[in-house]
Assembly symmetry: C2
Homo-oligomer: 312 residues x 2
């Protein structure tokens, strides 16, 4: 069986854009260090499997994220494949933006936190200070004509703070978007969120002027909730879903090795409903098997296991 | 973090009955042979963790399912814990029913197939012949005052036949229920189904007189779709969900080792919405860790991995 039975579902979008985060969010959280040539091949394979939007890397200090220290080299290797408004790179600050601009990128993403504790742990500053840091990045990026995405992490729970009030997420999200960002990616960084939570947060954002058309959802599958949460978001009008081929990546702040929603599991789900993604699932599974060889561990994706015959 | 943030969702039931299939469907499909004392302890732990409905074993020929050859001994060990209308056992035929009745069980389940190929492979007879075999089982069980469940497998896809037309599932389901069964469990035996498929099948069953109040859903997580599919069913009014503690069991007809929807992942999802289940998640996770030790492999449940610190 190479694909699910097609049975349409009312109230679902006709097309979903998968925002592939494997090369960045995925590899950033893998223990194995992947050679830059393998990363370049990974991105090329993803694009040729039909993934239109691929976040390729991060221009962050190598001291903080040694896994992505080769970002400039990767973009050089990628050439045209690494440029364009659908090949964003993460930039934490103005220095990162400078480095990204020097490479001719046309899209960037900033990475904020909905909670004070994670802002301190991840960005070494308060939420206020981090937004002050992002402001000139977004202003300059927009002046250069770049597309800008705002990640907001810990939207559904925080490992230190526990529950994260929806009003707090809306407030920080609004401040991030008011900087001039084009898209907001709501991160369930530790994977604890559930479907009711997704509905309520999207409702609250909509009420506050951030509609589904500007939102992407970013679910980690740590507690097995990622796909169910994605469907809650789709029912709400969201059409951009972050996923990581092979389910690459974990979260260093959760005990489990389970990472992002696996792109293959998402594609299977969307294929079943006849929702267009433009993706060749078989090519994607082959890519995950190939990458698993480089990482020295099997893909946690259920679909990869089922189709490629892997084991737990 | 010991539980998800509580955020209610409209259109969801206030309470869900989890129909625990770990001791039967789970252990039946595990390679390891588990001693009968361990099985008894497993059932006792599940019940004391708050699982009200537990299918304990199967009175099937030991030649076909050696893993459950100890069913009579298990029920003897279980005593009262193994009896009652919420402690069903599987009976394939009249001989199985006799053996179950001799043990004083008060609830049984029969196991049919929506497809001809699986009926032949699993029951060694056609769909017609299998229904003819079930008829006296159900009649006698009802005459004895037993509660009767009808499993229907391959409702969402068949590994040999591929797509399974919804009309075909409805037809076989209707014939099974017309025998006099109390509940229908719709099985996605190979885990290929998606959410639109769930909605459409439930719609078609409802149109044909089998309403959500008589239906349970039984999803395998082979393609990562089980929880998303469960939510589609809940939105449709279904309140009985089959799950297996620790995600025990696989499907011998799919290449992957991934089994039933893990009870823990389901409980996490329901807890998040404030839907009552009566289950102590922590006790359940402890039980899965304990059982994983007996099986010699880690639980595939995401929640067990996250909370117990397991690894892929």
């Amino acid at each position: 069986m190479r694909g699910p039975q097609r049975e349409a579902q009312s109230g679902m979008p006709g097309r979903v854009t998968i925002y592939e985060v494997g090369p960045r969010d995925g590899l950033q959280n893998e223990k194995a260090v992947v050679p830059v040539e393998v990363k370049a091949e990974f991105v090329r394979r993803l694009v040729s499997a039909g993934l239109d939007t691929v976040e390729t890397t991060s221009f962050v200090s190598p001291q903080w994220v040694p896994q992505l220290a080769d970002s400039a080299e990767l973009l050089t290797l990628l050439g045209e494949v690494g440029r364009g408004r659908n090949r964003p790179v993460l930039v934490p600050n103005e220095r990162g933006l400078d480095a990204a601009l020097a490479q001719g990128v046309q899209a960037v993403a900033i990475f904020g936190s909905a909670t004070e504790t994670f802002a301190r742990k991840n960005l070494n500053r308060s939420v206020d200070e981090s937004i002050a840091m992002f402001a000139p990045v977004v202003t300059r990026a927009r002046a250069e004509g770049l597309w800008v995405r705002a990640y907001l992490s810990m939207c559904f729970g925080d490992p230190w703070e526990g529950d994260v009030p929806i009003a707090q997420v809306v407030e920080v999200a609004s401040r991030m978007m008011d900087l001039g960002c084009d898209q907001l990616s709501l991160g369930d960084t530790i994977g604890t969120g559930t479907t009711g939570h997704v509905h309520r947060l999207l409702d609250a954002l909509d009420t506050n002027g951030i509609g589904a058309e500007r939102i992407g959802v970013h679910f980690h599958d740590t507690y097995g909730q990622a796909l169910a949460n994605t469907f809650a978001a789709l029912a709400h009008g969201v059409t951009v879903v972050d996923a990581s081929t092979g389910g690459l990546g974990g979260c260093p702040y959760a005990k489990s090795a389970t990472g992002n929603l696996a792109t293959e599991d998402l594609v299977w789900a969307l294929d079943g409903l006849g929702i267009e993604t433009g993706i060749d699932l078989e090519a994607l599974v082959e890519t995950s098997v190939w990458m698993a060889g480089h990482l020295g561990r099997p893909s946690p994706s259920r679909v990869v296991k089922a189709l490629a015959g892997g084991d737990d």
